[in-house]
């Protein structure tokens, strides 16, 4: 029922948001692209001219690159594994009848609302401190030597901290999806003699597959960009330097803008590969 008049009004109403996002996307993106082809060292002479693809090859061939890619993959993979496996189990559990369901939900979701710098510092000091941390007390209680978590199991520690923040998110999304499952289907299967395990694998899990995919994609994008959790715990030491952190160090710590920008271009490409899959699912959902 849209008239010509309301169409042009609609365009004007959309304009500010579209214009701002366009500027916000294009200007920094073009600058990053420009810098990635320059030999740009602000503290050592400024812009020293065109560098060709030098920055791109140097970023990839530096000794820090492949370890950082590996660390990134391990952290993203670890967080996804923990949050999906435990998220599915927790969601199924929370869907069952129990007393105080609302309160348990609140307890489980709470970590997602904790500021990343707070959760990183609380874990680093009050839990993972090798002398006074809760985990050290626990280890001593069982007669074991306390771990120096952020040195001896540094990557695992980061995975633990980040998972603690994202497991609640996964659980909440999966719980929402489970609640839309038709319970009569499960009852019919039960009457036909399907075991609980068969019901889980052939009814619940397929029903959840779309929600799981969405959790995987969204978490991948956010966990690829994890920063504060590393910044305040290890500062990138002990093998916890991710691709994001490596780029941050190149740009702001060693002020090698050309090199850091080339890294940035790689990070943008990587995130876009994930984003394409996410947008496809979201886009399909818009049609109906």
């Amino acid at each position: 029922m849209a008239t010509q008049h309301s169409r042009s009004a609609a365009r004007i109403m959309m304009a500010p948001a579209v214009f701002l996002l366009l500027v916000w996307m294009l200007v920094p993106l073009c600058m990053t692209l420009w810098f990635s082809f320059r030999n740009y060292l602000p503290l050592r002479g400024g812009d020293l001219g065109f560098a060709g693809f030098n920055n791109f090859t140097r970023f990839v061939s530096s000794s820090a690159f492949w370890p950082s890619v590996l660390t990134t993959l391990i952290i993203v993979g670890g967080v996804l594994l923990i949050s999906i496996v435990f998220g599915v189990l927790l969601a199924i559990l929370l869907d069952k009848p129990m007393w105080g369901q609302g309160i348990v939900r609140i307890l489980v979701i709470a970590p997602f609302f904790v500021m990343p710098t707070v959760s990183a510092l609380v874990w680093k000091n009050m839990f993972m401190d090798p002398v006074n941390g809760v985990l050290a007390h626990l280890w001593r209680f069982f007669g074991a030597d306390p771990l120096v978590w952020l040195q001896d199991a540094s990557v695992f520690s980061i995975i633990l901290i980040v998972s603690w923040q994202w497991l609640p998110f996964a659980t909440l999304i999966l719980l929402t999806a489970i609640q839309s499952l038709d319970s009569e289907q499960l009852e019919a299967a039960e009457i036909d003699g399907a075991t609980p395990l068969a019901r889980f694998f052939f009814i619940s899990l397929p029903h959840l597959s779309r929600a799981i995919t969405i959790v995987v994609l969204i978490q991948t994008i956010f966990v690829l960009a994890v920063f504060a959790e590393i910044f305040v715990t290890t500062g990138g030491a002990f093998g916890t330097r991710t691709l994001t952190y490596l780029i941050y160090q190149r740009v702001l710590e060693s002020q090698n803008i050309g090199l850091g920008s080339a890294g940035g271009v790689y990070a943008i490409i990587l995130a876009n590969i994930v984003a394409i899959f996410l947008m496809r699912i979201v886009g399909k959902n818009l049609d109906n």
């Binding site: 029922m1 996002l21 500021m115 006074n132 960009a225 990070a267």
Partner: protein
């Protein structure tokens, strides 16, 4: 045909779920408890759980020592300002996309979503440089604008999904009754849109409050919010567990309370309507 649940089963579910829930919540509980301990009790071996001399000393020390109020004010201004500004810009956009959709609406929505996927670190230096050149490094207004731009795609999306649930027939009925465009917006749409707008404000305030990439990298003193205040505790001097806990509790308490009200909106807002 609801299944009869034996109370035994229900009791078992309850015990298991509560244990796991408390385990997940424990770090937060422990932080809150530790904030009321003395520094000596905070590192007592074996640890004390509930039975210690409860004290408010840590809170008064933190409040005195570190200009806590300035950080808090900055957090409120940056999170609140960016959210309000974002909603102001997004409401007309979402309104027009929901009620006057065109062939390009879907593409525009997906494109907006794609800007949210841009990794911040990829554009760190350009933004940093622009802030220096414009003289707005460590400036609250600059952070308000940047966090607004970061959350704008989510704000537009959330509002769009809420607005789309408002039945279009109601508008037609209002028009038949002779309502002008102004009447339509003021008396028909606004009352129906307010719950959606409130939810959007709430969730995005939380997201902006917790944002810790730009707030850490673009502030030092004047504009530093609570994220930076807490990060300044990462180099400890002496006994500090109890004070760290007090500072942390103050930084997360308001958001935990708001967060509990926004569970449903969280699903809608962060999955872009793909999970309902």
């Amino acid at each position: 045909m609801a299944r009869a649940v034996t109370s035994q089963r229900k009791a078992l579910n309850t015990v298991v779920a509560w244990s796991i829930g408390l385990l997940i919540f424990f770090p937060i509980l422990w932080t809150i408890l530790t904030s009321f301990k003395s520094e000596a009790e905070a590192i007592a071996n074996p640890p004390v759980f509930m039975f210690f001399d409860w004290t408010l000393e840590n809170y008064s020390v933190v409040l005195e020592r570190s200009n806590y109020m300035r950080f808090l004010t900055n957090s409120v201004i940056i999170a609140g300002g960016s959210t309000l500004l974002g909603v102001l810009i997004a409401v007309p956009a979402a309104w027009s996309m929901a009620f006057v959709p065109s062939r390009r609406t879907k593409d525009i929505l997906l494109w907006m979503l794609s800007t949210k996927m841009l990794p911040a670190v990829g554009v760190l230096y350009p933004i940093y440089l622009l802030c220096i050149r414009l003289g707005v490094l460590d400036n609250r207004a600059a952070l308000v604008v940047i966090l607004m731009l970061i959350n704008l795609p989510i704000i537009v999306w959330m509002l769009y999904t809420y607005f789309r649930e408002i039945p279009g027939e109601i508008l037609e009925a209002a028009r038949m009754d002779g309502a002008t465009l102004k009447d339509e917006i003021l008396y028909v749409l606004t009352p129906m849109a307010i719950p959606g707008i409130a939810s959007t404000l709430l969730l995005n305030f939380i997201l902006a409050w917790n944002e810790a990439f730009w707030t850490l990298n673009l502030t030092s003193v004047d504009a530093a919010p609570l994220t930076a205040f807490i990060a300044s505790y990462s180099s400890p001097e002496g006994l500090f567990f109890a004070k760290l806990s007090a500072a942390s509790t103050m930084a997360i308490a308001p958001i935990l309370i708001l967060g509990w009200f926004s569970q449903k909106q969280l699903v809608r807002g962060l999955t872009f309507g793909a999970v309902k």
